[in-house]
């Protein structure tokens, strides 16, 4: 198998006055599943369409193993893609759809049936796509992408419309393909949807790169958050200010009668030490697990880490 690196360099795309992608550069490595993340409208689909030569960049470009998509002979044999908008003629059967593409992809008709079996649509092969559910269309889209047994796989929001079973199916499929050394890029607007699938994360917002690392490194960015309450709230406020903690007041809530602070930065142990040193009795000290989604939100909200 060819070890294909996807290289996006200084990619820019403007639609009239709207800049959908701006000076975007990153690499996608083989043998790993890379999540391409960003809120709706961040420019993910546009980036993938640029990579596949469907739209022309305003600047920069994308290469696969050094070559532009359009310059690769029989490209679908090396690079499989399923783009967000499921694109099927409703009057064509699933099998017929694959067969219309098979000659150009460079595979046999037998392969079309095999791939339908692989994505779990064997029984529906002769049904018209117009009768398919969202999830079935998603699977057919993946079938199209896999038709040429490609070394590079680009999937745009593959989990959209899939049921939990479908999501776990796609997870194990991608994992297995990455283990074979293939290069896999999947986009999503929800980090939670792919956090069990991806090894690396590339996060964009408003068309710009805001983060590019392994998932583990992204997790490390989580800053500890702790809920702190004391029987002397003004003293607690003075302590937080004196220590320079980022603190936000929390209203009294269930299981908490005193007003409390949400402190971001120091660990619970550091807070406890400081309170003890200043003679303050704490009535609550609870560390919160900072979720990936919260980091994702922080990264994409402001267009960068604060």
């Amino acid at each position: 198998m060819v070890e294909d690196v996807i290289e996006v360099s200084h990619l820019t795309k403007r639609f009239g006055s709207l800049t959908a992608v701006e000076d975007l550069s990153f690499q996608v490595q083989p043998g790993r599943v890379t999540g391409f993340l960003g809120p709706n409208g961040a420019g993910k689909t546009t980036t993938l369409r640029l990579a596949l030569g469907l739209i022309r960049p305003t600047g920069g470009g994308v290469t696969f193993d050094g070559q532009k998509y359009a310059a690769i002979p029989r490209p679908a044999h090396h690079i499989g893609a399923a783009l967000e908008a499921a694109s099927f003629h409703p009057g064509r059967t699933a099998l017929a759809h694959l067969k219309t593409l098979a000659p150009e992809v460079g595979v046999s008709d037998k392969r079309c049936m095999e791939i339908l079996e692989l994505v779990g649509l064997k029984a529906d092969a002769k049904r018209r796509v117009g009768q398919f559910s969202m999830g079935m269309r998603g699977r057919l889209g993946v079938a199209v992408a896999l038709l040429g047994d490609p070394g590079v796989l680009l999937l745009d929001e593959p989990t959209n419309g899939l049921d939990p079973e479908g999501i776990s199916w796609i997870r194990s499929l991608l994992r297995a393909m990455a283990t074979q050394g293939r290069t896999i890029l999947i986009s999503s607007h929800l980090l939670a949807e792919v956090e069990n699938t991806v090894d690396d994360v590339i996060i964009i917002a408003k068309g710009r790169l805001v983060h590019n690392s392994s998932l583990a490194d992204l997790r490390a960015l989580a800053r500890p958050q702790t809920i702190v309450a004391a029987n002397d709230p003004p003293a607690l406020g003075r302590l937080a200010a004196g220590q320079g903690w980022a603190a936000q007041p929390l209203p009294a809530g269930p299981g908490r009668t005193d007003a409390a602070l949400m402190v971001t930065g120091p660990t619970a142990a550091e807070i406890g030490q400081a309170a003890f040193a200043s003679g303050l009795a704490l009535t609550q000290l609870a560390s919160q697990v900072a979720g990936l989604e919260q980091i994702f939100f922080r990264l994409t909200e402001g267009g960068g880490l604060k």
Binding site: L54, R56, P75, L83, S87, L101, P103, G106
Partner: protein
């Protein structure tokens, strides 16, 4: 190119549209063939009581020539069907977004367009076979039953059928050319209907009305199509199409297909697909 051609054939034949359109065309033509054969044969018989000079003066063709004029309805009225099937081979791809997987499988868009042009030719030929047969069979039957001349014994009639088939064949590729220029299906259908039903018929009526006998309107696709057949109902209305040799007409219609495809490729087909 062979792979692209194979893909395009499969696209054409894997939805129901090709035969639904074909049945519409055949039913329409069979009905018109019956109607015209009956009316013309009936009319000629009525006229047969008149003195020969008076019959001449009506300008109506007689015998086998009349039969051929009736058969020419296939090309004159139904060329819109191969035109549409060719054009829809592109607009349907844009409408259902299958143009995305199409361009992913073959990013060289000129190859895709070329394959569509070539694949449309046999499709147009099949449309021709069905449309000509649907017009001629019932009409010939009526003519024979009513004691007229269906002209099937004349080589001239069979040569006419051959030219009509070529006419249909090339019209499908004109459709592909037009589709590459107007990829939006609704816009395309509006343009096709307006051009074939209003714009061109009106333009072609102008020269005889103002007393000209040769103008650029002879080069309009519909006029060229009639010239390929060499017999047309339009000629009854004074729009004579006999002037242009059919071989030239065939080349000019092919020229329309290539010119439209060239314009489509230059201005529309290479655009962003999103």
């Amino acid at each position: 190119m062979t792979a692209a051609l194979k893909s395009e054939f499969r696209k054409l034949f894997s939805t129901r549209m090709w035969w639904i359109l074909m049945i519409c065309a055949a039913a329409y033509l069979a009905f018109m063939g019956l109607l015209m054969a009956f009316s013309f044969q009936f009319g000629t018989q009525e006229l047969s009581d008149l003195p020969p000079e008076a019959q001449e003066a009506t300008g109506l063709p007689r015998g086998a020539a009349m039969a051929r004029m009736i058969y020419s309805m296939a090309g004159s009225f139904a060329y819109i069907f191969p035109l549409l099937i060719g054009a829809l081979s592109i607009t349907q791809e844009y409408r259902h977004k299958t143009i995305t997987p199409t361009f992913l499988a073959e990013p060289r868009r000129y190859v895709v367009l070329g394959a569509k042009l070539v694949a449309s030719l046999p499709m147009g030929f099949v449309y021709g076979l069905v449309c000509v047969a649907a017009t001629a069979l019932p009409a010939a039957l009526v003519l024979e039953i009513m004691g007229g001349d269906a002209g099937l014994g004349q080589t001239e009639t069979w040569a006419f059928f051959g030219r009509a088939l070529l006419d249909f064949t090339v019209w499908a590729s004109v459709g592909v050319g037009l589709g590459s220029l107007i990829t939006n299906q609704v816009a395309l259908i509006v343009v096709v209907l307006a051009e074939t039903q209003a714009v061109e018929p009106i333009l072609r009526m102008l020269p005889p009305m103002i007393g000209q006998d040769w103008t650029w309107t002879d080069y309009l696709p519909g006029a060229v199509g009639d010239a390929i057949q060499g017999a047309s109902l339009y000629s009854l209305m004074g729009m004579d199409t006999g002037a242009m040799p059919w071989g030239w007409a065939l080349l000019i219609l092919l020229g329309w297909a290539v010119a439209l495809a060239g314009l489509g490729y230059a201005f529309q087909f290479r655009r962003d697909v999103s």
